[in-house]
Amino acid sequence: MTTSQPEATPTPNSAVGHDPAFIEVERFSFWYGAAQALFDISLEFPERRITAFIGPSGCGKSTLLRNLNRMNDLIDGVRHEGDIRLDGTSLYDPAVEVISLRKRVGMVFQKYNPFPKSIYENIVFPLRVAGRGSRSELDETVERSLRGAALWDEVKDKLHESAYSLSGGQQQRLCIARAIANRPQILLMDEPCAALDPVATLKIEELMMELRKEYTIVIVTHNMQQAGRCSDHTAFFYLGRLIEYAPTLQLFESPAKEQTEAYISGRFS
């Protein structure tokens, strides 16, 4: 990794496992058909850090996030300019296989979307499609992921019941468990706590702090406190443009742009 890091962060860097992952977005613009959703965005995500996206509804947070694992490829008539690089390789390099990319980049969606299967099968799905999994590995993965998503105690006795028998918040945590089952390097979370009560939200935040040791996390949130509490960096978007990107403390205490200040202090028109 030759690119210089944007800043020196205090590293609890005893983390083991993955190669360092590092995302660079360079002059990235994106169109849904004729409508441009992102305008010339450049930013970099340091590895093993939490980056938060904030901004008013419809400003393009999800769009950028979904580009990081090329989820937007599935939509007809989309187009992009600029580049996104992961660990130095462009996502759009023909040599990159989307499937293996998505195995490295896990995602939790804005709307929880468990499969119409049992809880157990939901979590082992990423392993199954990867063709992996002895019985013991699957069992171990299920327990680890569910504990990670703070769901284990609630569902450990009904692992083979339908995922739809869970409450909305439980289903969301199930989706988080599923996203971390195959140990991705990067975790994209689109408003993961929107459907959760404060206790569960706190658990998810603890989980993120835990995951931060191994994963690079990008989170979209409408909750300023959450962004302030648990992210290292924050990016503020407005109408498809990146307005400000800075270490969280700095962005919240002394925002450089007026729009940012207006938004975080709730005086936004």
């Binding site: 979307n113 499969f115 119409p116 739809y164």
Partner: protein, 618 residues
């Protein structure tokens, strides 16, 4: 303000009433139809009272035993234009009266009273019998008078014996003699094949075949003699009886398969007789040109055909729908295909029948029997084989190049089109190579000109119906695929699943209940269809079932019987239409029941699937 909303409500109310009325009328019509069929269909088996009629016929009076089947429903007008109601009288005994029904003007009935001691017998020939038994003459021993207390038991014993004997005869004539016949045919086929192949030791073969046939003929004669003996045995015990006019008649006891005394039955006895009649109808083969006996072969044929149809239509329909919905680029071409598929559903079924006859029966069936009718000359064929492999290799190589290999740019549009074209060319060549093969002489060439597959059969009939119901399955599957929420598809892809894995593991299970619905509709439509079957394999009387204990157990080439065709045949092709009417109703009831039962089981399977994959969107 209030009055205007009030007005509006009143206006709306009228429409609600109207639509409610429409629904009610619809329900009423369906309900009435079902009730009619249920009543008339089940009534057939209810033991009915037998009356003794005195009827004026010109100067004379005629006396008969009969059951009233229809009173006052029809009538005639006399010279003075006055309406005279008629009754329809079932008298049985075709061997005596010529027909088993007669229509009588009501005023001509001089007297009718319950006839004491009359027996109603279900008989092998001559239709039902209604008579006063007078005495039995067993094969050996003394005759037994009808008023002897032992009479009924003795008769029952003899009837049972007769039934058993007839089953044995059937076994010998159908199965064992059939087997010998098959072997004789096989020997002859062997000889023909040898002659055709120009075998050198033809004389030897001929001698051996003749020897074999000789011994088979001996078997045949022995079996035939056995059957003949049993037939004679059937004729030994006789029953004597009197008809309504007091005339004496007699025939073999074995002519009777079942009997009861309708005028002396208690309710329980009637119920038991009803059950026996119903069971005989369901389990027996038709006799006496389908007017008597049961409809088991037709039930079985309908069932097997519908299952075959479902088994064939489901994979084709589902694969086509998956391609159309999930893989094909949605554009004018796909839209056109979709419109064509939908229009296929509106093509009259007889058109499919004609197509099935031309393509499946004569084309594919003829090919299986005797090979290509106009094969290509050998050099051309060899060239085609070589060409096929060349094109196939090219297409595969092209495909490998086209799939974006690591580090290479994806191929252009033109190359893609060429690759597709190569596949189509390869498919066409393969078709030609198979269909025009000069070296393939057919699997049943030795039987020709008697066709094996080149004539109607259950396989071709089911295939034709599968083709006809394909649009139903495609449309239903496409709809249920589209109904699988985008969210779960994205979730699967985000987990690193490939497109096919997503379809196979997430989308198809989610769509399964909807697909089942399509299959149910297809089965319902196919099971009741008659017109295309009439030219692709249904017959009035099939000698054997499409599935039986004979190797290879499933005989896809056999002709079969079908309830729908049975109804048509009985009701409209039978010489004694009035006599067939009850059977028509019973068969209709049965067909409806069969369709309902099959649909119900499919619905149960669907509900089970639905529970299993309880996706929120269905």
């Amino acid at each position: 303000m209030t009055s205007s909303t009030g007005n509006k409500r009143v206006k709306g109310e009228v429409q609600i009433w109207l639509s409610g009325m429409g629904l009610a009328i619809g329900c009423l019509m369906v309900g009435a139809l079902l009730a009619l069929i249920l009543w008339r269909g089940l009534h057939v088996f209810w033991p009915q009272e037998v009356l003794h009629f005195k009827i004026a016929e010109g100067e004379q009076t005629v006396e008969v035993f009969g059951q009233v089947k229809d009173r006052g429903a029809s009538g005639v007008r006399d010279e003075n234009d006055e309406f005279i109601p008629q009754i329809s009288l079932f008298t049985g005994h075709r061997e005596v009266f010529g027909i088993s029904y007669r229509t009588v003007r009501e005023p001509l009935v001089l007297e009718s009273r319950v006839a004491q001691g009359v027996m109603v017998a279900d008989r092998v020939s001559g239709g039902a019998g209604m008579f006063l038994p007078s005495h039995l003459v067993p094969a050996e021993g003394d005759e037994i008078k009808a008023d002897d207390p032992a009479f009924v038991d003795e008769l029952r014993k003899l009837v049972r014996q007769g039934n058993r004997l007839r089953r044995q005869i059937r076994q010998i004539e159908r199965i064992e003699i059939g087997r010998v016949n098959d072997r004789i045919q096989a020997e002859e086929r062997h000889l023909r094949a040898a002659r055709r192949a120009g075998a050198e030791n033809l004389e030897e073969i001929r001698a051996e075949v003749e020897r074999n046939i000789e011994s088979l003929n001996e078997d045949f004669a022995r079996l035939a003699a056995q059957a003949g003996e049993k037939r004679q045995e059937l004729e030994l015990a006789r029953i004597h009886f009197r008809l309504g006019d007091g005339s004496e008649h007699e025939h073999a006891v074995s002519n009777i398969t079942r009997f009861h005394y309708p005028n002396q039955l208690s309710l329980g006895g009637k119920l038991a007789e009803f059950g026996r009649g119903l069971w005989a109808f369901l389990s027996q083969e038709p006799r006496d040109s389908n007017r008597e006996g049961g409809v088991f072969p037709a039930i079985f044929g309908t069932f097997v055909m519908t299952i075959l149809l479902a088994v064939m239509v489901t994979p084709f329909g589902v694969i086509a729908a998956i391609y159309l919905r999930e893989y094909a680029k949605q554009g004018p071409l796909v839209r056109t295909v979709r419109i064509c598929v939908n229009n296929l559903a509106g093509v009259p079924s007889i058109v499919f029948g004609v197509f099935g006859l031309g393509f499946f029966v004569y084309g594919v069936g003829g090919f299986i029997d005797g090979g290509a009718r106009h094969p290509w000359p050998s050099p051309l064929w060899v060239a085609a084989v070589v060409g096929f492999f060349a094109v196939l290799t090219a297409a595969v190589l092209m495909g490998l190049r086209l799939s974006p290999a690591p580090g290479k740019p994806p191929a252009g549009k033109l190359l893609g089109a060429i690759g597709g074209g190569l596949w189509v060319l390869a498919a066409v060549l393969l078709l030609g190579v198979v269909a025009k093969n000069p070296y393939f002489g057919g699997f049943f060439a030795a039987d020709l000109p008697t066709p094996t597959f080149g004539t109607g059969g259950i396989l071709w009939a089911s295939l034709t119906l599968a083709l006809m119901t394909l649009p139903v399955v495609i449309v239903a599957t496409e709809e249920s695929l589209a109904a699988v929420p985008r969210g779960v598809r994205e979730a699967a892809l985000a987990c690193g699943a490939s497109k096919w894995q997503t379809i196979q593991r997430i989308v198809l299970p989610g769509a399964a209940p909807g697909i089942m619905t399509g299959v149910i509709l297809a089965m319902a439509r196919g099971a009741g269809e008659v017109a295309p079957l009439m030219i692709t394999g249904v017959v009035k009387m099939a000698p054997s079932l499409p599935i039986d204990g004979e190797f290879p157990f499933i005989h896809a080439e056999r002709k079969f019987m079908h309830l729908g065709f049975h109804i048509f045949d009985l009701g409209f092709q039978s010489p004694d239409a009035e006599a067939a009417k009850p059977m028509v109703f019973a068969t209709t009831l049965l067909l409806i029941t069969l369709v309902v039962v099959m649909n119900l089981s499919a619905i149960l399977i669907r509900n089970h699937l639905r529970r299993k994959y309880a996706a929120s969107s269905f």
